[in-house]
């Protein structure tokens, strides 16, 4: 069943290719159906998921190239279950935005679905070969999507983003191959490798070297400071649904793979680098927060904000306690949903006005109450207001990391204040104040198709803000099993 998550979008993508371009109305229907199906499937998995059962669930294994020990193997534990839910939410919300694309809709939706399927592949696969394959596959559609459908400095942004992540991936590939070779029983099976390394860990210097490769390689996509600079530039250039998927979900592949490979297989190497990682994350939180304060473009601001928030995730991972890592996973979910909502708001306004400067607007609260409210709620979630799951996640990270590095946690708490500064400033200039008559044509979201993405995303944040146990009951046992 679980392979359907990957293959439904892929099949739908080829269906779209087969649909004649003239049948404009059929294209969005196919795309939406595919995303809805995978969403429902994910909910189904979530429903049948047994948190008390150790190990992976819904496991399937299809031998592919036995000579090299390559098999398509997929399964879910609490961590990737949460991330699949994140992806299901964001991709479903994103497809409604993607379907409004006016230029070359067919190709756009094709790439979108390939991207969606590949991300499911990364999150479900438990075989290093396929994991890496899908990881690289996500990069392929991104380049044309940003380069063709993007805005402003799009070629530059597309280039930056793709090159940076590919370079990181190359390092990580080196690490993965070394891992494959060093374990020495010729398998890419991640479960077996993890099990084996639990009992017979590598020597310290091997672990350190491998962990460094993985951390840097996947740290790039997690926008670890100072490897983050592709992120604001790329997000600013990308079309709305790509920004949503990228900031919301793709970026989370970095910390996810760091958890899966570095933390689970190479705990000593991880511990070796943890102080450095924590310091870099701390710098990232404050630095990106301050950089966000001086941005005049909303998308750049949110881009830096996401770098800053990934700092919290990495800080939580670096502390390596059950509480902090669980908080980090919950923040991956919460920040992903929040970032998607934020980019959806900005995209919605940009679609109509072709403006996205912090100071371009004013008084949208009266003119477009729904969209303003979504913006305000996303901002409040982002600045860690209780009621949204982001608060719980950050709180757990703070509690869990305090014993390891109180100073950094103190700085991170300060980072929450900085977040509030730039977001409330943006809210004030966009939604409050006198209405700028230049945007008289602006329409609020009225149809359910326009409102649905916001309701879905913000509703999820509120649901798990009030009931964090709903996700934590999945995350915590998985994290507990992973940590030494």
């Amino acid at each position: 069943m679980i392979f359907l998550l990957t293959w439904i979008p892929f099949v739908a993508a080829f269906l779209i290719l087969l649909t004649p371009s003239e049948k404009k109305s059929a294209l969005p229907i196919i795309a939406k159906t595919a995303c809805l199906l995978t969403f429902l499937l994910t909910i189904g998995f979530l429903w049948r998921f047994r948190p008390d059962q150790p190990g992976y669930q819904f496991l399937i294994r299809i031998e592919w190239f036995p000579a090299f020990g390559i098999a398509y193997q997929a399964g879910l534990d609490g961590i990737n279950m949460t991330l699949c839910l994140l992806h299901a939410l964001v991709s479903l919300a994103g497809v409604f935005t993607a379907a409004r694309e006016k230029k070359r809709l067919k190709e756009y939706l094709f790439f979108y679905l390939i991207l969606v399927g590949a991300i499911y592949g990364v999150f479900t696969c438990l075989d290093l070969f396929f994991l890496y394959l899908f990881y690289e596959t996500t990069l392929i559609p991104l380049y044309p999507m940003i380069g063709i459908w993007g805005s402003k400095n799009k070629e530059y942004g597309a280039m930056q983003l793709t090159l940076f992540i590919t370079a990181g991936a190359a390092l990580a590939l080196f690490g993965i191959l070394l891992l494959y070779q060093k374990t020495g029983f010729g398998t890419f099976d991640l479960i077996r490798i993890t099990e084996h390394l639990k009992n017979a860990p590598f020597a310290a210097h091997d672990q350190n070297f491998l962990a460094a490769l993985i951390l840097i390689g996947f740290g790039v996509i997690a926008s670890l400071w100072p490897l983050h600079s592709w992120s604001p530039i790329g997000y600013a250039a990308a079309p709305t649904s790509v920004s949503m998927l990228h900031a919301g979900v793709l970026k989370k592949m970095g910390p996810y793979l760091i958890l899966r490979i570095a933390l689970a297989c190479l705990p000593a190497g991880m511990a070796h680098w943890s102080t450095l990682l924590a310091v870099l994350s701390g710098i990232g939180i404050l630095y990106a927060g301050y950089a966000a304060i001086s941005q005049k473009d909303l998308k750049f601001m949110v881009g830096f904000s996401s770098v800053s928030h990934m700092g919290y995730v990495l800080l939580g991972i670096a502390a390596m306690t059950v509480t902090s890592v669980s908080g980090a996973v919950l923040l991956m979910f919460s920040h992903g949903v929040m970032a998607a909502a934020m980019f959806a708001v900005i995209g919605f306004i940009y679609e109509q006005t072709h403006a996205r400067g912090v100071f371009d607007f004013g008084g949208l609260g009266k003119k477009a109450p729904f969209i303003s409210m979504s913006f305000i709620m996303a901002s409040l979630a982002s600045l860690g207001l209780p009621g949204f799951s982001n608060f719980v996640a950050e709180l757990l990270i703070f509690i869990g990391s305090w014993e390891k590095s109180p100073v950094l946690v103190g700085l991170a708490v300060l980072g929450v204040l900085i977040t509030a500064i730039y977001l409330l400033r943006a809210v004030q200039h966009v939604c409050y104040g006198e209405f700028n008559p230049k945007w008289n044509q602006l329409k609020d979201a009225v149809t359910w198709q326009e409102k649905f993405p916001f309701v879905l995303l913000l509703g999820a944040l509120l649901l798990f803000g009030f009931w964090p146990q709903g996700l934590l009951r999945l995350i915590q046992p998985a994290v507990g099993a992973m940590l030494p």
Partner: protein
Amino acid sequence: MITLSWAILWTPFLTAVFIFFFLLSRPRAAGRLATCGMLAAFLCALALLWDYLSLKEARPVLESSILWIPFAPSPVEFGVLIDGLTILMLLIVTGIGSLIFLYSMSYMERDESCGRYFACLSLFAFSMLGIVLSNNFIQTFIFWELVGLSSYLLIGFWFEKREAATAGKKAFLTTRVGDVGMMIGILSLFGYLASRGIGTFNFLLIEERLQTISIPSPLLYAVCLGLFLGIAGKSAQAPLHVWLPDAMEGPTPVSALIHAATMVAAGVFLLARLFFLFAQSPAALLVIAWTGGITAVLAGTVAVVQNDIKKILAYSTLSQLGYMVLALGLGNPYAGMFHLTTHAFFKALLFLSAGSLIHALHTQNIWNMRTQKGLLRSMPITSVTFFIGTLALMGIPPTSGYFSKESILAAASHGSPVLFILALANVFFTSFYMGRLCTLVFFQKSHSARQNHLHTARESGWKMTIPLIILAGFSIGGGFLPLHPFLGARGHSEPHSNTLALISIALAGLGFLFAFLRYQKKSHEHETLDSWMTPRFILEKKYFFDDVYDAFIHFVQENIARVSDLFERRVVVEGGMNGSARLTRRLSRLVRTLQTGVVQFYALFFAAGVTVIIYVLILSGKS
């Protein structure tokens, strides 16, 4: 009892949610629902009081909670803690809250976003009740933040006005500065307890454990100061008081709610709730006492030069809060909470009366408020109730303010003499600025024709006057309320001292008299205040707090942000990213020169390569 307290907590929340989803476009229904919800909560609180008093134990403490995040090392609960302090605060919040809600129905009826107003107001009450009922640090922090959110939404309620939007943001950010301290305080306390194997956030558990283990005093000092920073933010103590005067941009009933029953009371309440912790750190108490004393006098003096009736009241709140914090800092939570209670009555009364005046006169400037017939005649209920509130604020017997202020002064008389003098001086300032206000607004008649349009001022409707009358009743009689059963465990009332009472009444009377004589004949403001007082300029500038902060934001913070941004552009992007791109391009150019396309050239390289390889092979073969 537990069910009742849960009902009190969730009723306002449910009304807020219901209004948000269904009644946003039906303002009248929203108002009715919200008021009924608040009233129901008040009735529940009364029932709770009845149940509590009929309990047999001496000072019962009830607790009930559910596990919200049941994590092994640090379970986070969500629960209620009921003791006398809780019940007292519940009654204040829901009781005064109901009156303010009722008043708002009339005050806000012409506003088209009335539905949003009541949703936010209910949210505000919910957040405050959450703090009051909370039984652990995390829950307190959660509702603490929600109070910040509600104040942000309500102060910036008229968000089309730039000042209102800015004031809302300022309130949120200023109190959040405090919250950073509070979070760090909580974390360090928890971190220490966890390292001793008793990681918990629960108030009662921590109180119990503190009897057996002692926290090292530097750490305890830091914890207390961190927590107090949060308290100073919400309770608007210097230097985090700057948001409160600006918060006057919100609708007047909101000001009444913030100043009397919620928000600023939250800080003082928390100080009383956590007194078991603060009491162990005398050094922290000293800081708290001084902060309170200084805030009281700072605000009391600034109020003297304000011309906006709401601003005067705002500064008077600041100075009264200073008193409460001073009392707690002096180790007397009883006096502090007593003053909190009486202050809630008379400050709500003053704000609502002021709102009634503003509603009728359409101005907030005290120099423009006098009417031809005199307000006493045209708006008798408002005027009389305002005057009662003034007497209570000045601390004239037998009003409630007299008793509570007296107990604070008595507590101060045992402390540092400087603090005592500050506290006494503030009695004088308080009656001086209130005297100025009353003289200008009530005791002068308008002679000039240009203010004649104000002579039409009429008394407001019953929805506005009934709350005024009830609050006036409590402002007079509140001092006789038997609070000891509620606060018995928390300190003691000071023995009554006649000399002290005489001194303070004399000071209050003098202040009022001076103000009356001085402003009786004045019809418009002149540049000089009085050369015998502190220079007017400093007061008008409010001791430069805002200027210093603005300068800090402008010169320090903005520059850090700008430097980060520049670093990003110049170093990370330009140097790192584009630089590596350039390097790659140059390298490729270098390599490209080898690709000449001339076959002879390739053949030469080929031959050279083969020669080298053979040479190496021969060499290695030899050795």
